[in-house]
Amino acid sequence: MTRNTGLFPVPTRFGIDAMRPSRNEMETLARRASRGAGLSWGLAEDAGHVTRWLLEAGLPGPQMLIERLERLDGLALTELGPSSVAGASWISSSGLLCPIIVGALIADRPDLLRRAGGVSLQGVVCPVLIIPALVRAACHLNEWVSVQWQELQLSFDSNSVQSRGNLSAFHDKESSHLTCRIAQSGGSELPMPSERSWVSRDCHQRLQVMARRTLAPATDLSRQRGAG
């Protein structure tokens, strides 16, 4: 018997099948999938929190997470973070920055954003995934933090997310040049959804494929030993 076959069949803009996961199950799936794609457990936990936050905000967290995981699958983590944070421009040895890794870095040390002109991040894949870390930084610093990539500008403080420009940039998968600074760039408030967000069956299944890598195949030995 396959698991989770009871998806609500509802015609939506995603296609025939979509589901409305709870925050908890999406966070768990995101964490396992991230671990399956090679992130350390600590970074996988962060990926889970990031995806949950974005899902709750009505932003394409799960969708962009699977894109990042597939694109950077198995690459060495030390090549996906900045080689140095001493300067104003952060770039990795591979030329690509993982938004989970660089987001964690900023959330760990938000004062790194305190630079005239801000910090420039080169080659960030799926930039939307960095947003929750910047919100954390804004809360910690008690300042507005803004980020820009392509034609989208976002600002965050502890209570709101403001946007200005082209919202389709939320769905950018390719690497982008981001600028983060302590500033408010204005714009309109991003509305918080009042209901659960939809996630397509395709996205969900791709995440499950990644997550399944963390699951050990059953062996006769484990069954014999009275496993639950």
């Binding site: 709870s22 457990w41 983590l77 030390t78 964690a104 870095l105 760990d108 484990s222 030993r225 639950g228």
Partner: protein, 560 residues
């Protein structure tokens, strides 16, 4: 002049052997729920009961609270005896349930009828709070029906020895399978304490299962049938079978666990600090002790080790009886006197039984600690600006017990936690026998603490942990854990959770004791059967008498 007694040391409390010897107390989640239901006069009804004589159909058991209604939607199935299994890989059950937030419409019941019987293979919506299932007791179900149908009460001893009509094998909440998240309900006062939706679910299951059995007896026996004696019915709980699925919880939720242990320790310290005890309080304690001793006779287990512990507990409680008779009336801080005597003289089971029992006469003093049990906060961050020196100091202060362990011996890492593909449930393997290293779940904080301590040894004291983590992302989780738990005395279990002497059942029993479970019956070192709500008042009885001491009732005595 009596002095306030400090909290017990974490080095003493946070050992698996002791945590695995814990007993229910006033602060257990089930007790908190029953107190609230009584205090707020929750009203119960059964608006739907469409069940045939074979016991197949569905029912809705509903409760009206000050805030709103909650409804247990129950589906009763016909299950072949060979298919009945407690294991998480079972695919069919005697009864399946969902707790609905409000009153379900017909279309909700239709939708649930397509999903709930499938359990993990179905989906819930945010209108559902929990998902669960239960199986009939093979020993009791039909014998009790046959008795009642023929006009006779069943054998009291049989009921007492089994103790339940059905047992649940899982109760899922917190957003699992699409149910509502904890965040959606955490600000409702009735759910502010931990696991209240799960406890409410089991409470309602117990009531509807009794109704189902009675219905079947009445259908079979017609005019001749009798109603199950109320005292015997009340003595019955809902059985429960818990395995490794629950084991990682205390390790994965250290901040929450800290709150539970801290609340109980504060309660214990408050009572120990009391300068004296009134005659009334002593008498109540004596009565509850006597009742507790009697109920030990019905705490049956096939596990020889647990049987030994129960035998020892019997002797311990006899010793407590003698000791309280011997304490001079003028003794200052008599509870502390008793507690310190117990530390020297009793087994761990005895010590923890006594610690819980001492709280019973003091609801006014300890019940308010229930408000501090939950932990509904944002996930912790990493402090990247902490220096290597500071992290070293933290590890030396809070994890010296882990740093002192020898991690090179094969026994020290004998076990490996993993999650099975088959049913996505935690399992425990043997590192030497099974090739599981690639799948290891991070459930060994002691080992990880020792590992990160060793790794930062090569870094200069003034470097930032943030830089260390950029180079060593594999230590991110343990660094966050060590930092975020640094001020929480009871967050970390001070034992090796992958060592050869690990008994996973200690992790299960500890959490179940906080739930309020009784009659721990280990079936292996990683599987335990328990009872929930045994002796609790049924919905119609909640306000008939003062039931605050219900765990100490028996089939013969109620606590008025």
């Amino acid at each position: 002049m009596s002095k306030p007694i400090p909290l017990r040391e974490p080095s003493r409390v946070m050992r698996l052997e002791r945590l695995g010897a814990m007993h229910q107390s006033r602060l257990s989640f089930m007790r908190i729920l029953v107190r609230r239901m009584r205090r707020e006069r929750w009203q119960f009804s059964r608006p739907v009961f469409e069940v045939d004589a074979r016991g197949v159909g569905h029912a809705v058991m509903s409760t009206q609270t000050p805030r709103g209604r909650y409804s247990l939607v129950a589906f009763f199935h016909e299950l072949d005896d060979e298919l009945r299994s407690d294991r998480v890989i079972a695919e069919a059950w005697d009864a399946t349930f969902a707790l609905f937030d409000g009153v379900p419409e017909d279309e909700d019941i239709q939708r649930l009828s397509r999903n709930v019987p499938l359990q993990e293979a179905g989906r819930l919506s945010c209108k559902e709070l929990t998902l669960s299932r239960a199986n009939r007791s093979d020993r009791l179900w039909w014998p009790v029906i046959e008795s009642l149908a023929s006009g006779v009460q069943p054998e009291a001893e049989l009921l007492r020895s089994v103790g339940y009509l059905m047992r649940t094998t899982a109760v899922y909440g917190s957003g699992k399978f699409g149910a509502a998240d904890r965040e959606d309900i955490a600000d409702r006062p009735e759910f502010s304490a931990p696991f209240q939706v799960e406890m409410l679910t089991v409470y309602l299951i117990r009531a509807v299962v009794r109704d189902l059995l009675q219905h079947m007896a009445n259908s079979w026996g017609g005019e001749r049938s009798v109603t199950l004696d109320t005292d015997m019915a009340r003595n019955l709980g809902i059985g429960n079978s818990t395995g490794l699925g629950m084991a990682p919880f205390l390790l994965n939720h250290p901040m929450l666990f800290n709150n539970w242990v801290l609340a109980r320790e504060k309660a214990i310290a408050r009572v120990r600090s009391l300068p004296e005890a009134s005659a009334e309080q002593w008498n109540l304690f004596r009565s509850l002790l006597a009742s507790g001793r009697r109920s030990l006779d019905h705490w049956a287990t096939t596990d020889p080790e647990q049987a030994g512990k129960i035998a020892r507990l019997r002797l311990d409680l006899l010793a407590v009886q003698s000791q309280i008779d011997a304490i001079p009336e003028s003794t200052s801080q008599p509870w502390n006197h008793l507690h310190e005597w117990a530390d020297q003289m009793l087994s761990l089971e005895g010590q923890e039984y006594l610690a819980s029992l001492m709280l019973e006469p003091y609801g006014d003093l300890v019940d308010s600690l229930a408000e501090s049990l939950s932990h509904d906060r944002a996930p912790p961050t990493v402090d990247g600006n902490m220096s290597v020196a500071e992290l070293k100091a933290l590890l030396e202060r809070n994890y010296e017990w882990a740093l002192d362990m020898d991690w090179q011996t094969p026994g020290s890492q004998a076990h490996v936690w993993y999650i099975s593909e088959e049913k996505q449930e935690p399992r425990l393997g043997l590192r030497d026998l099974e090739d599981l290293d690639d799948y290891e779940q991070p459930l060994a904080p002691a080992r990880d603490a020792a590992a990160v301590y060793s790794a930062i040894g090569g870094w200069s004291d003034t470097e930032d942990i943030g830089d260390f983590l950029l180079q060593h992302p594999e230590f991110r989780q343990i660094v966050r854990r060590v930092q975020s738990l640094s001020a929480l005395p009871y967050a970390e279990i001070r034992d090796n959770t992958i060592g050869e002497s690990l008994l996973p059942i200690d992790l299960l029993r500890c959490k179940l004791a906080f739930f309020g479970a009784t009659r721990f019956d280990p079936r292996s070192d990683r599987w335990v059967r328990i009872r929930l709500f045994a002796n609790a008042p049924y919905p119609e009885e909640l306000n008939q008498y003062d039931s605050q001491y219900w765990p100490f009732s028996s089939a013969n005595t109620l606590w008025y």
